[in-house]
């Protein structure tokens, strides 16, 4: 008995040692190829100093903190979810509310439009992902279907280029891919050791990968087909709240509780940029790129949106407008605007 435990202890010890040694070697390997900084490469680019981004629409109607929002593929509708369990479909262009659904839970932390624009998925503290059909003029809440259930809150969800599947991230530290029609779990993704906060699909239509960010400070790249983690990025000092693929698909931007945003390159296999400033001390909750990837928009807990030049690593603009923390931010599908949702119960469209 004693021997058994000691041998087990040995293996754990030796494995831990091996893991540490491997980590060191990995870091060495990465450093060998680290020949230049992003700022020097981007030196030849012109400075961005003409940016005039202002609030163009103000969507008021939620009675509680807005926690998540998503653009419709038609480029003008938005779905948003809030702390009081309401989900609202907006025509953001006219600022009209087109549907309102009350979920049987509070803290609806995630919502997403399907690629067809006919379904929305949402969920939160109920640990479930529920799909609603927007197809009729009737009350949307009558046509719903629970697709998947996690063992902890659902923090993020997205349709992977298909109305037939949903990818979710959860506080149970896993991600999962569900079949919408049958509710079948197609694939689960184990690897994070803490709550998954955010995920994003690779922009390539043929791509089978997605990225997730978690409270374990890690950013993991997943193969949707096998369920295996294929790449891992470390660097953040605290929870990773948001992950977003660079439009080229070759890099991933992250926003974290450590008040920085970072850029990890897939081919260089390492962190290539940190977007930070001494005066920024609050968590970055949501990040997204402009169409070209040059601008990185980030919403922070201090009510602001910082616009970063992703290549020169300098801030090009600081946007005020919300009266509480910015909880979500997303660039519209055609890149003409971005939306922000806030704990001040409202959403704004900036362009």
């Amino acid at each position: 008995m004693a021997q058994e435990t000691s041998s087990k202890f040995d293996t754990i010890e030796s494995l831990t040692k091996e893991a540490d040694a491997l980590k060191l070697r990995l870091e060495e390997e990465r450093q060998k190829l680290n020949d230049v900084t992003i700022a020097t490469v981007a030196d030849r680019l012109d400075v961005i100093n003409f940016l005039t981004i202002k609030v163009k629409r103000h969507l008021k109607g939620h009675q509680a903190k807005v926690l998540c929002s998503d653009w419709s593929p038609d480029k003008r509708h938005i779905v948003s979810s809030s702390q009081d369990g309401k989900m609202i479909i907006w025509d953001a262009f006219t600022t009209n509310k087109e549907h309102a659904v009350t979920m049987p839970t509070t803290w609806v932390m995630a919502c997403a439009y399907a690629p067809s624009g006919n379904l929305v998925a949402c969920g939160g503290l109920d640990n479930k992902v529920t799909v609603y059909s927007l197809n009729t003029d009737d009350d949307v809440s009558t046509k719903k279907k629970t697709v998947g259930t996690h063992t902890s809150f659902m923090s993020c969800c997205t349709f992977p280029n298909s109305d037939q599947q949903i990818l979710t991230g959860s506080g149970d530290s896993t991600c999962a891919l569900w079949d919408v029609e049958s509710g079948q779990l197609l694939q689960s993704f184990h690897g994070h050791s803490k709550d998954v906060m955010s995920l994003d699909l690779a922009p390539s239509e043929t791509g089978n990968t997605f990225v997730s960010g978690s409270c374990d400070k890690m950013v993991l790249m997943w193969d949707m087909r096998t369920g295996n983690c294929v790449q891992a990025f470390e660097g953040h000092e605290s929870d990773v709240n948001s992950v977003k693929f660079h439009p080229s698909g070759d890099a991933v931007a992250t926003g974290s509780d450590d008040s920085t945003c970072r850029l990890f390159d897939l081919r260089a296999d390492k962190e290539v940029a940190v977007y930070t400033k001494q005066s920024i001390m609050f968590a970055a909750n949501a990040v997204d790129f402009s169409v070209s990837g040059r601008l990185l928009f980030a919403g922070y807990n201090d009510f602001t949106v910082n616009v970063w030049d992703s290549l020169k690593c300098v801030r090009v603009s600081l946007l005020y407008g919300h009266e509480n923390r910015v909880s979500c931010l997303q660039v519209s599908p055609d890149g003409t605007a971005f939306s922000t949702g806030s704990w001040d119960y409202s959403l704004k469209i900036w362009a």
């Binding site: 992003i38 480029k75 046509k143 239509e205 000092e237 605290s238 081919r267």
Partner: protein, 807 residues
């Protein structure tokens, strides 16, 4: 980690006593470290803020704190607003004071300092107003969120003191009263604590007392804000990271094994030099800069810069499927294959080009595989089979050319059909054939150049056409979708006209598009609606999210490979309809839509009926026919031909019977339902047989049902030999005759019903034509259904006009 944090907190607690040395008035810890915040996750922002505030309080380099004179009174330990702002700007390299003011306000709302003279609003101004630091003991997240006991003691304490200076606010009084009720059992202890604290406070110096009182008050202002004021310290019910700490402890050898393995795989990963990676990121940004609306603007203007009442032209120009794309959009297709195929219009042009080169099977295959990968689980086996029969089987109608190795692998995968069965084959097709061969040729081709030169520059004044109708009509749900649907209508219309025109260059077809678009939207109905509603019904089902629509929009014109029409036919729609129906717990919506399609009256493939609900249909139809007639034979021949004519001569049918014996029938562009659903020409015949050969009274049988039953037949008779087929063909031709006669008799009945029948008659009839043509073409090398020549107008068409008039 947890422990480290606790110790650091303890250290901070200790340090907390230093700045002013006042801690006496602080409430005792009644329940030490018992409640929530300790165990949960402490945001890193608090460390940063605390570090900053500590720096601020540095005696030499911090914000100057002193006794400030205000009128005749002296205010101890206070600093001025502009000193604070200046300090922040200097220490944090802040360029604009707005940002410093904003940061100062944040710190104030978190309770690190507070305005001396305003106990209600936690606002920092860049002026001479006075502020005071909070003692670290009262900093947020120092120990835990305060409990009601402490609040009760604090409030009770204030009631015991000077009424003038310590009187409770209304909301505080209310709170006190409710606390008295809730904590009635402990109230004695609470009063005792309060009295004790008041007694201790009396011993202190006046200045200290003022400072301590204000700090305590500010603390409660932060944690128990007056109604209407929000607090930044609201607890989030989601305890982040809790699961993590526990799982970390029970990390066993299996997890470690996995980690080691993963790390090993990471080591063997090939990496590029940072410079290479960064260079490509920079290049990407440079390349796409002009396509970034937030950096380079949008043409004609960014829709969000418009008032909600204005028409956002940008979205009209850039809807997913357009006749004439913008010049910018076409140029973007040249950037990469991904840019081309992710744009629906781009994918369409690419397909059109490949079709001209008789090379389109690859893109079809690739699209089919992409669709398969994102299909519902229940559809997988069926779709795998379909794709195999369509593209891979020896002699398949759209056989693709892949190497033996890939084929072997695919066949192996076929044993366990999954979403990924054809991935290796699709990869092969995509990278080797499409990306490296077809795509570059497309970009260099005259076709692309023609599209580019015809593209519009939206900055020029509106010379846009035919758009207004559909957009304005459907203002409610989604104007953009409506717009694109409108475009699809136009596209479909052009498709129909194309089939009439026979072989024409694409650029010329665009011209015809325009002329027909105008009439189609004007009429608001008519033949064009058919495909319109197809695309709509498909939107509701969304079986093919990416390419499906484009295919569906042009089933008529693109009917090169029967496969892509499978999604368009209502027959396919019905077979699929069952799925969305079960999808919803109360699936009335989609179900209802399909049920209209199934309605015998409306006729399966004529989903135009379902769209034009009700009685106005007949009128519209008639006016449209007349219109089409006026459009003269050049513009409209194909469509009216397909349209019905119950009277359309039995003679011609007879002619064709003979023809059929020798020829293979071909599915014709304007054929719908059954043919579209059918797999290959051969089967299209069989699929019609249950209705025809059985000599059932077709007029009262909903065609869509006949289609789905046809499917079964199709499967069973898949193996039937040619002879048998010919027999059936014969039978069918007879059925056609009978039908047409039947139809003729009933023409006089309700419009709707007639139309339903027209549908039916139309199918076999047009089939006959095909056969007719097929006969002519039988010696040609060209795949018969690819040949646009075969769509030429034939004699029978003329007669249809007579029928139309009759209607």
């Amino acid at each position: 980690m947890e422990d480290a944090r606790l110790t650091s907190e303890a250290a901070r607690d200790g340090a907390g006593a230093e700045p002013h040395g006042i801690r006496v008035g602080a409430p005792r810890r009644l329940h030490s470290h018992s409640t929530t915040m300790d165990s949960s996750h402490r945001p890193l922002a608090f460390n940063k803020m605390e570090a900053l505030v500590q720096e601020m309080q540095d005696i030499e380099n911090g914000v100057p704190v002193r006794s400030q004179k205000l009128f005749l009174t002296s205010i101890p330990s206070a600093f001025m607003g502009y000193d604070l702002i200046e300090w922040l700007m200097e220490h944090l390299d802040i360029e604009e004071s707005v940002e410093a003011v904003h940061l100062a306000n944040q710190l104030c709302q978190y309770g690190y300092f507070f305005p001396v003279s305003d106990s209600k609003n936690l606002v920092v101004k860049d002026d001479s107003s006075l502020y005071r630091f909070q003692i670290p003991y009262y900093w947020p997240w120092q120990h835990r969120s305060p409990d009601n006991m402490e609040y009760a003691i604090y409030l009770a304490k204030r009631t015991l003191r000077n009424k003038q200076r310590h009187a409770l606010e209304d909301y505080e009084l209310e709170a006190l009263n409710s606390l008295k009720k809730n904590l009635a059992s402990k109230w004695e202890a609470i009063t005792m604590h309060a009295e004790e604290q008041v007694r201790l406070a009396k011993d202190r110096k006046k200045g200290d007392k003022i400072v301590a009182d204000s700090q305590e008050r500010a603390y409660w202002r932060v944690h128990r804000p007056p109604p209407g004021y929000t607090s930044l310290l609201e607890p989030v019910p989601v305890c982040r990271g809790r699961g993590g700490t526990s799982s970390k402890k029970r990390r066993g050898s299996t997890e470690l094994h996995r980690e080691v393995q993963f790390l090993r795989s990471c080591l063997s990963r090939t990496r590029v030099k940072t410079s290479v990676a960064l260079e490509s990121l920079v290049q990407h940004c440079e390349l796409y800069l002009e396509f970034d609306p937030l950096l380079s603007g949008a043409q004609p203007c960014n829709p969000w810069h418009l008032q909600p009442s204005e028409e956002p032209q940008f979205w009209l120009y850039n809807s997913s499927l357009v006749d004439v794309p913008t010049e910018k959009r076409v140029r973007r297709w040249a950037l990469s294959m991904e840019d081309l195929v992710s744009d629906e219009t781009g994918l369409h042009e690419f397909t059109v080009y490949l079709k001209k080169e008789y090379n389109h099977e690859n893109i079809k295959f690739w699209a089919a595989v992409k669709d398969l990968r994102r299909s519902a689980q229940s559809q997988i086996p069926k779709k795998v089979k379909q794709i195999y029969e369509e593209f891979l089987e020896a002699g398949a109608p759209c056989e693709i050319n892949i190497d033996g190795k890939t084929m072997e692998k695919t066949l192996e995968e076929m044993k366990n059909p999954s979403r990924f069965t054809f991935d290796s084959a699709a990869e092969h097709v995509y990278t080797l054939l499409l990306k490296k061969d077809c795509y570059p040729r497309f970009i260099r081709s005259d076709h692309y150049k023609a599209v580019l030169s015809n593209a519009i520059q939206p900055s020029t004044k509106k010379r846009f056409f035919g758009f207004g109708g559909p957009v304005k009509k459907k203002a409610s749900s989604s104007a953009a979708t409506a717009a694109s649907a409108g475009l699809q209508t136009a596209a479909a219309a052009s498709g129909q006209s194309q089939s009439g025109f026979g072989a024409m260059s694409t650029s010329k077809r665009r011209g015809s598009d325009r002329s027909l678009t105008g009439s189609a939207t004007e009429l608001g109905t008519g033949p064009t609606k058919v495909s319109h509603s197809h695309s709509q019904s498909n939107l509701t089902e969304v079986p093919y999210s990416e390419h499906g629509e484009s295919d569906d929009a042009r089933p008529e014109s693109d009917n090169v490979c029967p496969w892509d029409t499978a999604g368009a036919g209502a027959g396919a729609g019905t077979s699929r309809a069952s799925i969305p129906a079960t999808l919803w717990e109360a699936g009335a919506g989609p179900l209802r839509k399909h049920s209209t399609q199934l309605d015998p009256d409306s006729g399966s493939s004529s989903s135009d009926v379902s769209l034009l609900a009700g009685g106005d249909l007949g009128d519209k139809f008639r006016s449209c026919e007349q219109r089409l007639r006026r459009l003269s034979t050049t513009a409209a021949p194909a469509r009216p031909a397909a349209r019905p004519s119950a009277s359309s001569s039995s003679a011609s049918a007879e002619d064709i019977i003979g023809a059929c014996k020798t020829s293979q029938p071909e599915p014709e562009p304007f054929l719908q339902a059954a043919q579209e659903h059918s797999h290959e020409p051969r089967r299209s015949v069989t699929s019609l047989s249950p209705g025809c050969s059985g000599r059932r009274p077709l007029a009262c049988k909903p065609p869509s049902i006949s289609v789905s039953s046809a499917q079964d037949v199709e499967e069973t008779s898949g193996e039937t030999e040619k002879e048998k087929e010919k027999e059936k063909e014969k039978e069918k031709e007879k059925a056609v005759e009978k039908e047409t006669k039947e139809g003729k008799e009933k023409v006089g009945e309700k419009d709707k019903e007639t139309q339903g029948k027209e549908r039916l008659t139309e199918e076999p009839h047009s089939k006959c034509e095909n056969k007719d043509k097929a006969l002519k073409k039988s010696d040609s090398d060209v795949c018969p259904w690819e040949d646009e020549e075969s769509c030429k107008v034939d004699a029978p068409f003329v007669k249809t006009y007579a029928t139309l008039g009759y209607l």
